[in-house]
Symmetry: C2
Subunit: 486 residues, 2 copies
């Protein structure tokens, strides 16, 4: 990047918020996704929508890639600046501007941390349900960019279901508002929902208005252990078939349980093949009724043990064990590759079976855990990216896992996004025609292709592309990138 | 249209399903929206996605407008073929292909009648919440095109919140699938949600997969009468502020009550200034608790009378009175113009006040009723389109009503769509930049502009455009167009 351009950017955001030393750039060369790394040319940390618009105008004029990011906890390489350019960090726009108790909305900047939003609204008896694994670190801007999910997806949906209004800046610097606080609004195309999950490839989101719900009055947690994986899957299916929709139904296989136990020492029965963690919330009496019925179903489906947490702390401890899964797995080997294959929930047992078969075929260790209630599984491989032969087998295995998911009516990514990691597989899900259409939609926003280039649409379909890590001064490949939580 | 083209279309759909006599064309020259009418050149009624693709290919090649439609119950002129061309009726694709009880989804053709979907899923203990006023006539394809709302929007959202997957045909004849049965799916841009509410301007939807919920176990209905409009609005706001979200909170002003009473003779107290119709559903105990608390709030806000329906039939009768509102209003004068101004719910009282002020200013009779819980009001004017002077005043009044809604943070249309009727006002809501962006998005789907041309984007902003009705053989202007239900 030319000196003159750098000096313009410096003027816009201020000396302190413009970074371009190798050490500074290195920090923004990767995100929570292993295997991907690339150096940006500059990092800017604007403090206002005006500064963002000014940065975008320059970038657009000079065709410089813009990679907007928050905390970088995504797991698809979505914020790795693979084509260099400017990393635009939105973390400074972190104000919680308003909680509107009459309209049940919250309005805030993209830099607000997800769990801070949770705490602020819960203090007023309100509820923002999406709870991605990274919620203590992730920003709401990142949640919007990736359409983050979480454990409560089954009952409460995902980020998209809660975003009502956005302010966003187009690549040409135009500042637009979409949606608002209206529960019903059909004035024109729904650009708001289109931007959610667009992975920074269309615009930079600068303000978010989210829908809130009343905070459920009660919550209960239950754990059930199974000596057969299929029994666990059947329990999930029967609960839904009986028209009970729990807030959470999480699944851990034996391999994950073992690693979690070693990490957290909470007394998991390691001879079991699978466990389910089930949470229900709502009116106290209804929660009580649902939990009793769910326990009956689990017993009928041959659960070896079913235990309802006696108080909130015990419930929180059980959930913490589940939340620790990725941290625990990432300690085992230098590189942890967490995937996101998702199927319609009725195909869960088949999918878990197939993951086992594929892992055996390629002799790679894959643990599986995830959101059983919504069919969103996280098959996770503990490997070492320096072992190129093994990494090749891992990639072959995940390719087959995605293929299996699609054959079962599923998708290549439920909540992590496409980014670089799943770009080569997108065509498997949406077809060549779907990709062409999406590229034309991108052009409508970003005619010069400066917004997060190289993401979502791969140059090379069908093969998993490993981006070569740069030979940086810092030798920092491996486990260090895998420390976000799923 | 050339003979040769007509003969090609005839071959595709079969002689019986190709219409081009003046009498036949006349039937498809209007929809439920008063004031708008235009003759198509031909009507086709295809029976399959293949036939639709073949029709679109020909239309695209020869730049012939395509207006896809179902029952034509929309209230924005969305299916009036203002630029002639082919009306493509999707009613024959009306199969309910599947109710998937394990994944809680239904898959069906766009021609399926909304209330038939309701009945089919409710028979299995499942629930498809959106309930637009026209649900006994409207097709699900039309609901998707307009993103239909209804009375249950407050608690359950609108059509968009339930559409998980679509099959659609692009203007070039390409058949694509978007989304599916996955509760979580972030593979690429969310084209599914973009198509919902796109009013037939992007693609023709040929198959729909919708999310279902468990059917609530209990339902109760309550009516409250107020001698002051503001008390009614404050009741709505306090119920929400107490974190109770009823399934329905409908509002009728005195003028609407009078007309409904004359029509339905159900004993409404006509000295009252407003009434609220409130429904709650869910677990029986919770419903009971909520209704008791809502009654307390209504009394505290000076409701003159609060009555809870003693049994389902009484509740149904009360709701039927509300559903009869448009039918009742449309009997009063030859032309009934039903609008759709919507505000964040906390601004409801202000909006109702302003409608009154504006109606007085232009000396036009406007009744207001609507979905108070979600801020979606239907100010309705009984007029006569042959009285051009009065129609002019009506248009001025509605222009001011839209302006007032936007000033209150609202929108020009909550659930009826933009179509022709609100196209001149779209810029007020989304700005010139928003319109430009939406036009570019349209081009991504429809480069030759054949899909429902003249809708959503007006040539002429800021003034309400009355499209001149064609001098047809049938002199059939007036009330006949207003018989859909809101």
């Amino acid at each position: 990047m030319e000196k003159e351009l750098k000096s313009q950017l410096r003027q816009i955001v201020g000396e302190r918020w413009f970074l371009d030393t190798p050490d500074e750039l290195y920090v923004y060369s990767y995100d929570a996704t292993p295997l991907y790394q690339a150096m940006p040319d500059a990092v800017v940390m604007p403090s206002s929508v005006e500064e963002i618009a000014a940065v975008l105008k320059i970038a657009n004029q000079h065709r410089i890639p813009i990679v907007s990011r928050g905390s970088g906890t995504n797991l698809c390489g979505g914020t790795v600046p693979t084509e260099g350019g400017i990393v635009l960090v939105t973390n400074r726009l972190n104000g919680l501007q308003e909680i509107d108790e009459e309209n049940l909305t919250a309005t805030f900047g993209p830099g607000l941390i997800t769990s801070e939003l949770h705490q602020a609204v819960e203090a007023r008896g309100l509820f923002y349900p999406p709870d991605p694994g990274s919620m203590r670190i992730s920003t709401m801007g990142g949640n919007v960019a990736e359409c983050a999910g979480g454990m409560r997806g089954l009952k409460y949906g995902v980020t998209k279901d809660y975003i009502m209004g956005l302010q966003a800046v187009l690549p040409n610097g135009e500042v637009l508002r979409f949606g608002g606080k209206n529960a019903k609004d059909v004035a024109g195309y729904d650009i708001t929902k289109l931007l959610v999950g667009s992975e920074g490839t269309l615009a930079v989101v600068t303000e978010i208005t989210a829908k809130l719900l009343p905070l459920p009055k009660a919550k209960q947690t239950m754990v059930a252990y199974f000596s057969d994986l299929t029994d666990a899957a059947r329990t999930v299916q029967r609960v839904i078939a009986e028209r009970i929709i729990p807030a959470t139904m999480e699944f851990l296989d034996q391999a994950t349980m073992r690693v979690v136990e070693e990490f957290a020492r909470i007394g998991l029965p390691l001879d079991m093949k699978a466990m389910l963690l089930i949470e229900q919330d709502g009116d106290p009496l209804q929660v009580e009724q649902d939990m009793i019925r769910i326990a009956e179903i689990a017993h009928a489906e041959r659960a070896v043990e079913v235990r309802t947490a006696q108080h909130a702390e015990e419930g929180a401890k059980l959930m913490a064990a589940r939340r620790a899964a990725l941290s625990a797995l990432s300690r085992v080997k230098p590189t942890t590759i967490l995937e996101d294959a998702t199927v319609p929930r009725a195909r869960l047992a088949e999918m878990v079976d197939q993951i086992g078969v594929i892992a055996n075929k390629y002799s790679v260790p894959i643990c599986t855990f995830g959101h059983a209630g919504d069919g969103n599984l996280h098959p996770t491989c503990m490997t070492d990216e320096r072992d190129t032969e093994e990494i090749h087998r891992v990639e072959m295995a995940f390719g087959e896992i995605f293929e299996a998911a699609i054959k079962l009516g599923g998708t290549i990514t439920g909540e992590h996004g496409v980014g670089i990691a799943k770009a080569p597989y997108l065509e498997w899900k949406v077809g060549a025609g779907g990709i062409d259409l999406m590229k034309r939609v991108k052009e409508a926003f970003d005619p010069h292709g400066i917004m997060n280039p190289g993401k979502m649409f791969a140059k090379d379909q069908r093969r998993r592309v490993v981006v070569k890590t740069h030979g940086c001064a810092h030798e920092h490949v491996g486990g260090g990138h895998g420390h976000s939580r799923a």
